[in-house]
């Protein structure tokens, strides 16, 4: 007992010392990084930022006040007592002028509105293209003017005699969500988080007009309750705001504004990773990192200490942006894994780049990829579950006041967290004297990084498993990109893409091991490595079961990518064993190729991909 307590005390003491060291390095790194910018440059930068903000702010304020480049572009002849005078006066594009027939003829007026009697209004439009445009603008301005007046009307029923409440819902699905009831009740994710207010006591109708919408709303609400019971929600408020007006002026709930606001979170990341990548590469190029390596510190302590200031900077910036754009804690929590993703990828880039030029190239590539991954799916927020593969969708939902379940949060952010951890581990493998200060081409460094993690059979299986988050991420991105393509095209392309991604994940480290003479070249060893890699992938692939949490397999394209549902037990067992066989066979093919050099490996990868894609096609056909 005493022994256990002593060990526990030692472990706690060691952890405290390590944390203290991390904090010391972090403080030093932060102080040093700030110190590298001289005061004049910092002041100059601050002035530029303030001026930019002032200009943008002025433009925004002026814009809200009606400033436009087409201000007063059309001249309309109208008397002050004419009922159309306010329309013209309030329009930014129209300028009221003295009504004069001659002026219309000479082109000084584009439209002339006479008001000879109480109920008589006569319009004259100049017979020019500008006259036609002015007329069109006038008509639009009249509509807007009327809309504003009706919106200002205290007696709402007088302004809008007929009232219709619209409720936007997600695409209906056939499958039940894991958190829902198991009686086949359909789930409606969009109803989660408080659409009950809208449904309750309202005659709701959908576009089909079959009169079942009211019942559907009740069902939705009960499903929502049951879901809420099993998967607690975080950060939820009532869904969206409300808008009223004529049917022509009501916009569907495309979250463009929220999406743009969410995008703002990504912008500062680029500055943070440039600074981070620069400092890490500097340590290598100037060999300064050697002195830290010879200090009594673990590599992980050094890396954590040097990364922490940049992670904290990203978090602080995110929190500030969230406060400005109206996001909450949920937005910050959703952006943190993206920040980690940026930092971890930049860390690896800084460990493999040979120069600042190479680093810039790699970090820009990373920024584009991560931004694409985060931004593109978020466009489909509120449209399809695919959007949830991006943490930005969580931000969009937060900005809209929509509830997010823990399952959804984990689904969105899990790959980022896991991927970041794997990248940091990979990078830390080459954070050592022998790799940091040598100049090798990037592919060779990547092979070194992979090779550094290998020690035997078990490590091969482990690293195959650790690549699964990347596989998952790449496959989700492929789904998001192919989502808009016709299904006849998207499914075959997706099947081949997925096969290639998975075969690469199962074999690239085996190739690295052979390239660095880590493994024996005897056939039994090679086959053993293939089998271990295949089994590792099979076990870790079950990670994709999380996809079920948000109902991605409900989509045809999702079914093609992930394990299908609704199978008979016999078929299910068969489909459980079949992937195991597939993965071990194809991993063995690529392992044999990896053993015999780059060209043979590439050929083996093609063969394995074809075999894998054929298998995928068979499964899809079988399920279809």
């Amino acid at each position: 007992m005493t022994d256990v307590l002593d060990r526990l005390k030692n472990a706690i003491g060691s952890a405290r010392r390590r944390l203290a060291s991390v904090w010391r390095i972090a403080r030093w790194e932060a102080k040093r990084s700030v110190g590298t910018i001289d005061r004049r440059t910092a002041a100059f930068g601050a002035i530029i930022i303030v001026l930019t903000a002032a200009v943008v702010g002025s433009v925004a304020v002026a814009g809200s006040a009606g400033l436009a480049i087409d201000r007063d572009i059309y001249r309309v002849g109208v008397d002050a007592d004419n009922p159309y005078y306010p329309v013209v006066a309030e329009s930014s594009q129209l300028a009221p002028a003295e009504p004069n027939q001659e002026a219309l003829a000479t082109g000084d007026l584009d439209v002339l509105i006479n008001h000879p009697g109480e109920d008589v209004v006569t319009w004259y439009v100049a017979e020019t293209e500008k006259g036609s445009a002015a007329h069109s603008t006038l008509v639009t301005s009249i509509d807007r003017y009327n809309e504003r007046r009706m919106a200002d009307e205290p007696n709402e029923s007088a302004a809008y005699p007929v009232r219709v409440d619209l409720q936007y819902v997600s695409r209906q699905s056939d499958a039940t969500t894991p958190g829902g009831s198991d009686d086949g009740t359909q789930s409606d994710r969009a109803a989660e988080g408080g659409s009950a207010d809208t449904a309750e006591g309202t005659d709701t109708s959908d576009s089909s007009g079959d009169g079942t919408a009211g019942a559907a709303s009740d069902e939705d609400r009960s499903t929502d309750d049951s879901t809420g019971g099993s998967i607690p929600s975080i950060g939820g408020q009532a869904f969206g705001g409300s808008q009223s007006g004529s049917p022509a002026t009501i916009q569907p709930p495309f979250p463009f504004g929220s999406l743009l606001l969410a995008f703002i979170f990504l912008v500062p990341m680029n500055f943070v990773i440039q600074a981070y990548g620069g400092t890490m590469l500097n340590e290598r190029i100037n060999r300064r990192g050697e002195l830290l390596l010879v200090a009594p510190l673990a590599r992980t302590t050094i890396i954590a200490g040097k990364t922490l200031p940049y992670l904290l900077a990203a978090i602080v910036l995110t929190a500030i942006i969230a406060a400005v754009v109206g996001g909450g804690l949920l937005s910050v929590l959703a952006v943190i894994p993206i920040a980690l993703g940026f930092l971890s990828a930049t860390f690896v880039a800084a460990m493999i780049a040979r120069s600042f030029k190479e680093l810039t190239f790699v970090t820009v590539t990373i920024a584009v990829l991560v931004t694409t991954y985060a931004f593109v799916p978020a466009i489909f927020t509120n449209v399809t579950p695919i959007a949830l593969i991006s943490p930005l969708s969580i931000v969009v939902m937060d900005l809209q006041g929509e509830a997010v379940s823990i399952g959804e949060y984990l689904f969105s952010t899990g790959p980022f967290y896991a991927g970041s951890a794997v990248l940091f581990v990979l990078g830390s493998g080459i954070y050592r004297e022998e790799d940091m200060f040598t100049q090798k081409p990037i592919p060779a460094k990547v092979i070194d990084a992979l090779n550094a993690q290998l020690s035997g059979y078990a490590s091969v299986g482990l690293w195959t498993a650790l690549f699964v988050p990347f596989v998952f991420t790449a496959e989700l991105l492929a789904i998001a990109i192919l989502y808009v393509a016709p299904i006849e095209l998207s499914i075959p392309v997706l099947l081949v893409t997925i096969a290639l991604i998975e075969e690469l994940a199962k074999s690239v480290h085996v190739y690295a091991g052979y390239a660095r003479s880590r493994f024996e070249r005897r056939l039994p060893v090679t086959v053993g490595l293939g089998i271990v890699s295949g089994v590792g992938f099979f076990l870790a692939e079950k990670f994709t079961a999380i996809a079920q949490v948000v109902g991605l397999p409900e989509l045809a394209i999702g079914q093609a990518a992930f394990a299908p549902t609704g199978l008979t037990p016999t078929l299910a067992v068969g489909l459980l064993a079949a992937p195991l066989v597939l993965h071990t066979v194809t991993a063995t093919i690529t392992a044999v190729g990896a053993r015999d050099g780059r060209l043979v490996y590439a050929s083996a990868l093609v063969i394995a991909t074809i075999v894998h894609a054929a298998y995928n096609y068979g499964v899809v056909m079988l399920y279809a």
């Binding site: 010392r17 390095i25 110190g35 060999r287 050697e290 010879v294 200090a295 050592r432 004297e433 003479s517």
Partner: protein, 319 residues
């Protein structure tokens, strides 16, 4: 204090270090010399735990080189030790002292004491504004910030001016006097000869000779007795004849003292006068040349350095 056993480092098909085995006693200064690519730096970095050996072991103060705890007892000065140029020596040394868990006050006192001994002024100046010699002194002070039992210096005086070199060499001897164990690597054999108790000579990754400088001379070098006389008796052949002060001066050489005595007796018999008698021993450089068949990089610098020191009146310190 340091034990190196069968240390080997192989990069692909290239063996950087092959089976190095040696030890260093407490309070001793061991010099490692060898040409570029001999494996000196790789050996030192394996001892410091920076490079993982392919085979063999290295222990420092009882710790395996791979044990992070070992680094608490070690002060390492790499050949290139770039500093953080935006910091001052004071803040730089304080940061490293923090990393070694040295109490702040003790760290400052120790650092200032070291800088005093190294004769470094301007301690609050930005490191980036310092000369190369001043930066090297800061780097040396950094290597001692944790008061290590063992210090490993890789080319500590490389590229420094003669005065700074002299300061660094003197300081290294002081380290030994204070009980520290030192491994000292250099191209410059003069530096090694003037500082080290024992020497290991490496070439192409292997240790090809070891011992004290005296032992190396005894084993691998030669001794020559030179006799200068004003006559050249028949029966013995002069190695050289020069005119000095209007008179002829003959140089006779012998490889044993018996032969030298015989030459002297012959000169006496010919009524000649022995003008000078001296013993010339092989330099470490000559031994190195003998062993490796190639001149040391920096051997030219040896003479330059000695000449500069003499010129500046510091020859006594350097010899």
């Amino acid at each position: 204090m340091i034990a190196v056993d069968g240390l080997q480092k192989v990069y692909g098909d290239f063996a950087a270090v092959v089976g190095s085995t040696f030890s260093v006693e407490s309070g001793e200064i061991l010099g490692i010399v060898g040409p570029n690519g001999a494996g000196k730096t790789t050996t030192l970095k394996m001892i410091a735990g920076l490079i993982e050996p392919t085979e063999g072991t290295a222990t420092v103060a009882g710790y395996d080189a791979s044990d992070p705890e070992m680094r608490q007892t070690l002060g390492f000065l790499p050949e290139e030790s770039p500093l953080y140029e935006d910091m001052t020596p004071r803040s730089y040394l304080r940061f490293f002292a923090d990393l070694y868990d040295v109490p702040r006050e003790a760290a400052i006192n120790r650092a200032m004491d070291t800088l005093d001994r190294l004769e470094l002024e301007h301690r609050d100046r930005r490191i980036g504004d310092m000369s190369k010699g001043m930066k090297r002194k800061v780097a040396i002070a950094r290597s001692l910030v944790n008061d290590p039992d063992v210090v490993i210096y890789d080319e500590p005086a490389s590229g420094l001016d003669p005065l700074t070199t002299n300061t660094v060499l003197k300081f290294t001897r002081e380290l030994k006097a204070s009980g520290k164990t030192v491994i000292f690597s250099a191209h410059n054999l003069y530096h090694v000869e003037s500082v080290c108790d024992r020497v290991v000579i490496m070439n192409e990754g292997q240790i090809i000779a070891r011992g004290t400088v005296h032992e190396l001379r005894e084993t691998y070098g030669s001794r020559e007795y030179q006799i200068r006389a004003d006559v050249s008796p028949s029966g013995i052949e002069a190695a050289d004849t020069t005119i000095r002060g209007g008179s002829l001066e003959h140089l006779f050489t012998a490889d044993t003292i018996a032969k030298a005595d015989q030459i002297r007796e012959t000169i006496d018999a010919a009524n000649g006068t022995v003008l000078d008698f001296r013993t010339e021993e092989s330099t470490l450089e000559a031994i190195f040349l003998e062993l490796t068949g190639e001149p040391m990089a920096g051997s030219r610098q040896i003479q330059d350095t000695a000449a500069d020191l003499e010129h500046r009146g510091a020859a006594g310190e350097a010899s």
